[in-house]
Symmetry: C2
Subunit: 207 residues, 2 copies
Amino acid sequence: MSKTEVSNSKKHVGPGRKHARQKRQPDERVRRTRQRLGSALVELIQEKPINDVTVQDVLDRASVGRSTFYLHYRDKDDLLLSQLEGFLEMMSTMLSIRNDQSDRVAPIEELFAHIGNETKLYRVLSDSGRLKDFFELAQGYFSRGIEKRLKESKRLKSISRDELSARACALAGSVLSLLRWWLDRGARESPHAMDKLFHRMVWKGLV
Amino acid sequence: MSKTEVSNSKKHVGPGRKHARQKRQPDERVRRTRQRLGSALVELIQEKPINDVTVQDVLDRASVGRSTFYLHYRDKDDLLLSQLEGFLEMMSTMLSIRNDQSDRVAPIEELFAHIGNETKLYRVLSDSGRLKDFFELAQGYFSRGIEKRLKESKRLKSISRDELSARACALAGSVLSLLRWWLDRGARESPHAMDKLFHRMVWKGLV
DNA sequence: GCTGAACAAAGAGGCGATTAATGTCCAAAA
DNA sequence: TTTTGGACATTAATCGCCTCTTTGTTCAGC
């Protein structure tokens, strides 16, 4: 695990993945085990350099047997990736939902709020050089979420499939750039302010 | 030079940099030497894996003495970075220029056209894992170029400095995402079509 | 400003030995 | 069915030591 990149996990489908994909039968025991492992890793990488965290550390912190770990995940990176993907999946879903009813929190605001709560983790990823991989991953998830949303827009019915995907891609890019701008300056503005800013810029004219 | 990252070049100011910065007295000999070294490197990395290209290779190809090389550049990476920066500087300048007069080629179109001519290089950077660094670098240059342009917009006179920089950042992000989308699909659409697409999306409503 | 040659310093690669960590397997418990 | 603990084979990091390549510096002279 020397050349560990967050994005380099197309190795093989692996044993752990099967559980992740089967959304049926979310056995409570399984859910808890995975949850404990994930939290343990996330905690640990905020305590010491990511490469110094061993599988054994995670096992101890999570109080989970070694064999159980490998039953769920291919390796440490797979676990981290799975955590990040879970998070991004949430964000993507948020972006995909139309909020016509004004009683919902705006998706961009919610997105900034959620990520603003994880600035420590952001720092860790940044320091370990995995931030670029994370953003690349995020670009995919955000694009898909946004594309889904755009598809339901009446104003864009006449637009070709390719152009829709291009637009989603560009929008995702701008959200992520804005997010990075915000985080790198210490997240000074409120999530609500960022949401309004984003709306003033592009969202309004597009969806 | 095993862990060579395009972006990791904040080591120290280095001897070579002084020539790069002094825009006065662009001595013809210096210009030619730098030009030859740059071209040699760019040629070579398209012929064999970037890490197999030695300084000696570059020297031979460029017919430049070893001491001369180190007079201009800190190391191989510095040379590559300098080439990329030169390219990005051009792009940034293009983005910063308002084209009120319709006889100019639109900046986005020109940008896509220029980069479309370097797909081989794009592939090389991608294969050597430096693409993420390149895009990160580009994000900075593009943001600055766009911010400069936005500053001259009458429609945005009332906007705060911070918001202007945020907007520029987001716009740069969307251009780059679009660019990546375009390149990764084989640059099928014409630069002109991409320009129009971009305008339909955001540019129009913003500047 | 550029050169060539000479030289010190750093680094990559090979190799055997040692140690830590990883990943697999299975019988048995929950 | 999931989880467990312990035993076990495999892998990977580390070290010392060596060799050869590449790097980066220096300087007298064009």
